[in-house]
């Protein structure tokens, strides 16, 4: 076997440029596979990371899905979740550890001579727990603050920086939200980008009652966050909330929900569906490139067999069997394709980080994709090398010896 490998290596080295050009098709195809798959896994990892940053075992109840005259407005277009829906979920749904509604408003925020426009989210005291969020200074607001619609707030890391400057603890300061003074009671830890790529830290959290009564006048929620006690409890909690809200909204069995209960898994699936399409598309083009590369190998092996007809004749004359010749040429083809594959993998390793650096696309090279690429390239060598090798093996020794 080592002897066969040595012969093959020597034959390929003899035409080094030709061997390299032949491998090029495989190199391009395999590196495309590596980079393409790395983009898919990279994007998925990014999405998963962002979704996990939202909190653990989180379900989101979205209002809306209003349809008027056949036109669907989409979720969240028509806030129809009442405070009583929220209370009902808290009281009647088993297996939840935290729940918080969300109402949003935006407006001018001022502190001293700084002012900015930030999204103000009205939430309950359980919101931080549901989203596994901590304060780096001060405290969360309390149930009492919520009940009394007190003018207290928590500042996100980005907002705090904008209003008070870097690394300055804003706790105890007073800011004006739409000219109403709110006391800062807590400074939130930085959380990074959310699932839509938005900055989750550019936010002000206030009791939802304060937003409804003092800032926006809304009486309904656009969404409610619910944290299940464990991953296993999620489907059950989802089921309970759906039944409860259908009943409360008096939706008959033949009508669609006017709300939606979405799990993180569903959010993740939603984003990853796009990634999957992209991965499949790249995989398709990489596959075409690999087939073209394989045909290139077959072509060059056929040339090689013709060129070396006399050599084959000599080998047959001194006692090589057909299968010895077959093995020799097959080894050469596989060596070509796996060398191409290895170079392609190396190219992929080199290209993927460049893509991240210059196009900002998250990439992650998985070992599975490397293994897969290598196997595929070996298979290409075997498949496309077989026909030329068979042609060589079937040569008649006399004709082959006489070949000029």
């Amino acid at each position: 076997m080592i002897a066969v490998l040595k012969i093959a290596l020597r034959a390929l080295r003899r035409n080094i440029l030709r061997s390299f050009l032949t491998m090029l098709g495989i190199i391009v195809g395999i590196s495309a596979v590596i980079v393409g798959v790395s983009m898919g896994t990279g994007a998925k990892a990014e999405v998963d990371k962002r979704i996990a940053s939202m909190g653990q075992n989180l379900l989101t109840v979205l209002s809306g899905n209003m349809s008027r005259g056949g036109v669907r407005g989409g979720f969240g277009t028509s806030p129809n979740l009442n405070p009583s829906d929220y209370e009902a979920i808290r009281k009647e749904v088993a297996g939840i550890t935290a729940a918080s509604p969300e109402v949003r408003t935006s407006g001018q925020i001022a502190a001293g001579n700084q002012n900015t426009s930030v999204q103000v989210s009205g939430v309950s005291a359980e919101y931080l727990a549901a989203r596994s969020w901590n304060v780096q200074s001060g405290d969360n607001f309390t149930e009492t603050d919520v009940r009394n619609a007190n003018k207290v707030c928590l500042l996100g890391a980005t907002t705090a920086k904008t209003l008070f400057g870097e690394n300055i603890d804003p706790v105890g300061q007073v800011i004006r939200i739409k000219s109403a003074p709110f006391t800062v009671v807590g400074w939130l830890e930085a959380k990074g980008s959310g699932s839509f790529g938005q900055d989750q830290d550019d936010v002000i959290l206030v009791p939802y009652t304060s937003v409804m009564k003092r800032l926006s006048g809304d009486t309904r929620f656009r969404s409610i966050f619910v944290q299940a006690e464990s991953p296993e409890a999620i489907p059950d909690v989802q089921q309970q909330i759906t039944e409860l809200l259908r009943q409360r909204h008096q939706i008959t069995a033949d009508k669609d929900d006017d709300f939606m209960v979405r799990t993180q898994q569903e959010t993740s699936d939603f984003f990853n569906a796009n990634n999957r399409i992209m991965t499949i598309l790249i995989g398709f083009f990489a596959g075409i490139s690999l087939v073209v590369g394989g045909i290139g190998i077959m072509n060059i092996m056929l040339v090689s067999v013709t060129e070396r007809t006399r050599e084959i004749g000599i080998r047959l004359a001194v006692g090589a069997r057909g299968r010895d010749v077959l093995r020799q040429f097959l080894t050469e083809a596989v060596l070509l394709s796996i060398t191409g594959g290895a170079l392609g993998i190396a190219t992929g390793y080199w290209l993927a980080p460049l893509l991240t650096k210059f196009a900002g696309f998250p990439t992650l090279i998985s070992q599975t994709s490397v293994l897969l690429a290598f196997t595929v390239s070996a298979i290409i060598g075997i498949v496309f090398g077989f026909f030329p090798a068979l042609k060589a093996a079937r040569l008649d020794p006399i004709d082959a010896l006489r070949y000029e």
Binding site: R14, G313, I314, R315, L316, A317, G319, R321, P397, L401
Partner: protein
């Protein structure tokens, strides 16, 4: 008497090219015994190349019987023929047929690459070196074919033919591409091998070369026309001494 190395009985070979049937060999009965040194002579088209291909197990007779060292070759498949070529036959060609850009010793090792069971590589190298020394090229083992002269290349080819200790050495116009002095040197190697007991069959159309053999078979139109011991057999050593003397005389003059 011992088993003949070659036993042909009413050997016929017919090629079909298009509609025409070409009767290349039409009924040859011939036996070659161990230790013989036979020249097969004939003009082109006499059927001697077909004979050679058949004796070398590269081709099978259309009809008749062919026993090689007691084995009936007609019944064998491609692989079994390949094994016979590997174990029992050593080939020497007119055009040397060495692998280019490959060293002498690796060329000699070539048949052992296909020997079953395989020999360990060290032993292959030892045997190849021994065969090269036998033809006087021990010091050229690492030269590639292109770095060797025609005579040296043919000696490498002989070493390759001998390396698996065959029963029969077959040579197809072994001196066809060589000058007369080198031809005599090659015939000297054959004579020495024959003296050591090697059976040799050689195709040639040169009468001078045939005179180094012990027996001459003449073919014409696919049949054996004569088959007799060599008259006035030449000895390579004497001829070479003769040539040297002549050359000296020319230089003196």
């Amino acid at each position: 008497m011992s088993t003949p190395v070659i036993q042909l009985e009413d050997f016929r070979k017919t090629y079909i090219s298009g509609e025409v049937q070409v009767h290349a060999v039409r009924g040859v009965t011939l036996a070659i015994h161990p230790g013989e040194f036979v020249a097969i002579m004939g003009a082109s088209g006499s059927g001697k190349s077909t004979m050679m291909n058949t004796l070398g197990c590269l081709d099978r007779p259309t009809s008749g019987r062919f026993l090689l060292d007691g084995v009936n070759v007609i019944d064998l498949n491609r692989d079994e023929l390949a094994d016979l070529r590997n174990h029992k036959i050593g080939f020497v060609f007119q055009g040397f047929n060495l692998l280019s850009r490959t060293t002498a010793v690796e060329n000699v090792e070539l048949p052992m690459l296909y020997t079953r069971p395989a020999l360990p590589h060290r032993e292959q190298r030892e045997r190849a070196m021994k065969a090269l020394e036998m033809v006087g090229l021990g010091d050229r083992a690492d030269h590639t074919s292109s770095q060797l002269s025609g005579g040296q290349q043919q000696r490498v080819a002989i070493a390759r033919a001998l390396v698996n200790e065959p029963k029969l050495l077959l040579a197809d116009e072994p001196t066809g591409n060589l000058d007369s002095r080198t031809s005599i040197e090659i015939m000297g190697i054959f004579q020495r091998l024959n003296d050591q007991g090697m059976t040799i069959a050689m195709v040639t159309h040169e009468l001078d070369i045939a005179r180094y053999c012990r027996r001459v078979v003449v073919m014409r139109d696919g049949l054996v026309r004569s088959d007799e011991p060599t008259r006035d057999r030449l000895l390579a050593s004497e001829e070479l001494a003769h040539l040297d003397a002549e050359q000296k005389a020319v230089q003196l003059a």
